[in-house]
Symmetry: C2
Subunit: 365 residues, 2 copies
């Protein structure tokens, strides 16, 4: 079947581009002696996680217990749950996962750690823990210094838990311009001093885990970091391209859509809106930046969305779009787009050669 | 089980409020002799569609063929597909649906109508059609006047199709302030003249279908309209309340979430972000309006979301939130939120008494 014969809207992955993205990151990580523990939130598919493992990934990262359960299907030796696990229901499921793979949890409070320790002890399993540190995003994570020391001391004393090091998310570093490079220098010094402080207090941090897609290929500049957890790099998206971390031609995933109305002059309506792409705007930009990149004509502007309607301004286009025409659109944020689809299709050239269920889709718990 | 014992994030529906919303709309429609053909995109559940039919709904509205297939589960006599159906794959499925229920399609081009006519003839079924008119939203729909006349004339001549009238979506009328009431007057005159023009050309429009949730209880002011298709009214949401069409206490659906981090002073992180609520901002407002209404403390501001993290500013709150605390959040846009959940829970008071699968979730095609 050719890609143009797929019913729409459909999420399509160009395998050549995806494999190039996967290889490049794997080779970079190997060259710089970085453990690569890719975040599976982007593809949400055990089949694609398997490819990451086959290329040398040290393990997989997930955000929710439900994702961990699904990702066991990829047969990882090691799973990092980069999210605080709260409550008895989730802990029961987590310790069950820990019978099939080594499980490590990144967390930022002794409340969370104590619950986790109790669950591990009751189930007679051992769980790894990473102390989550805030390095500037202001999301989760304790402040470096006294707060971190208290957390690490507590973690080291709790039965059933093994202190494995620290985790952080440098999501504030997006664009690697002069300011971004300076922020990377600051991060380098900060992480260095965090590790040195812990050592002075008698704690070794075998794992120093950070990394995101935008700064992926600058990870070696954060010299004390030895593990990276990028997610988006497998596909890339309009956000990744907009921050200069890849070209549009490195974006492996697109939504195939159909023109369903041309009733308004200068506008086409495509059969995908916020239920197909997500409402995510271009990071750091306003509505005027639009909701995706239309590959058929770069002068088409994806200006607005309703749930099932994509509004594309075609006034500046040479292309004359007609009802039934197919268009390929690179989403702003591919992770939230993948979460909206039941299926992804893999293509080589124009040929559809793979079909994957998005198994970890909507695993909110 | 009590609602507080549900694992989180979970989508919860207060049945007393929902039933009141359903009854109120049914009684209003009956009192004003309006056919009520509710849009099922909001609840995406055949069980809830059944309740709408039991209260006198004349049929159900859907946007996609996949939703029509699911909604057959509610046993409707009549289904309106308020979306142009394009392409052989969808048409094959549509005519199959038409063997179990009367199917009507709203469309805005003869290209679409001709494909539909061919499919109906091949399958030996008859399909209803409504001519979609643009009344000011600028989305789909032909312009009233010559364009509409040409479309209706074409529809009436195509075999397998039965011209049933016109459809429009007055989504531009949201706030029923002075300007909104004026817009409603303009709409009243416009729809009146559309129907009169068609009659002059020899076409009766038995169905004049419009209506949305924000202007629901003013529908009788559009005197020529005899059918309404509200969707959101079953639950209402922060958008509905913000435009003055309901109170916060009329919002039946909320997301139950758990506080997972309090590491940053003045901020809590809850275990739901854009993957749980959708990234939809408050309609017509900026980011500063936030992403939902936190019922536990109205001074809490849901300022930001990542995929799994909800950032809530609690600096102005009296409540002291701790890790593990549950919070109830009314989403900005309940339709896109429901689409992200596999399950909805119904409660009476604090007791969980129902569990529905969101069967039409993610039916993009």
């Amino acid at each position: 079947m050719l890609v143009w014969e797929l019913d729409t809207p459909a999420l399509v992955v160009d395998l050549d581009i995806m494999e190039q993205n996967l290889r490049r990151a794997a080779e970079y990580a190997a060259a710089h002696d970085l453990r690569l523990r890719p975040h599976t939130k982007t593809h949400k598919s055990p089949e694609l996680a398997q490819r990451q493992l086959a290329l040398g990934a040290a393990g997989l990262t997930v955000a929710k217990v439900g994702e961990a359960e699904v990702m066991l299907g990829a047969g990882p030796a090691d799973l990092l749950l980069a999210y605080p696990v709260i409550g008895a229901a989730k802990l029961r499921r987590l310790v069950k996962v820990a019978r099939s793979a080594r499980v490590t949890v990144a967390l930022d409070s002794l409340t969370t750690a104590t619950e986790l320790s109790d669950a591990a002890r009751d189930a007679a399993v051992s769980l790894g823990v990473l102390a989550e540190v805030d390095v500037g995003v202001g999301r989760v994570g304790v402040t470096p210094g006294r707060e971190l020391r208290d957390l690490v001391r507590g973690l080291a004393s709790l039965p059933g838990l093994e202190f494995e090091g620290i985790a952080f998310y440098p999501g504030h570093i997006r664009r690697l311009d002069e300011a971004g490079m300076k922020a990377l220098d600051v991060l380098d010094r900060l992480v260095h001093s965090i590790v040195a402080d812990l050592r002075r207090d008698g704690f070794e941090a075998p794992i120093v885990s950070g990394g995101s897609t935008p700064a992926l290929y600058h990870s070696h500049r954060v010299t004390a970091m030895n593990e990276i957890r990028p997610g988006t790099y497998i596909f890339n998206d309009r956000n990744t391209a907009a921050c200069g971390a890849c070209d549009a031609s490195d974006c492996a995933a697109f939504v195939l859509a159909t023109v369903v109305s041309t009733a308004r002059p200068g506008q086409i309506i495509i059969d995908g809106g916020s239920k197909t792409f997500s409402s995510d705007r271009l990071a750091g930009a306003g509505d005027e930046a639009g909701y995706g990149l239309v590959l058929e004509d770069p002068r088409a502007v994806f200006v607005k969305m309703n749930e099932e309607h994509g509004f594309v301004d075609v006034r500046a286009c040479d292309t004359h779009f007609r009802i039934g025409d197919r268009v390929r659109v690179i989403p702003n944020h591919v992770c939230t787009a993948v979460n909206l689809h039941e299926t992804m299709y893999g293509i080589r050239g124009e040929e559809v050669v793979a079909e994957w269920r998005v198994e970890a889709r909507g695993k909110l718990q």
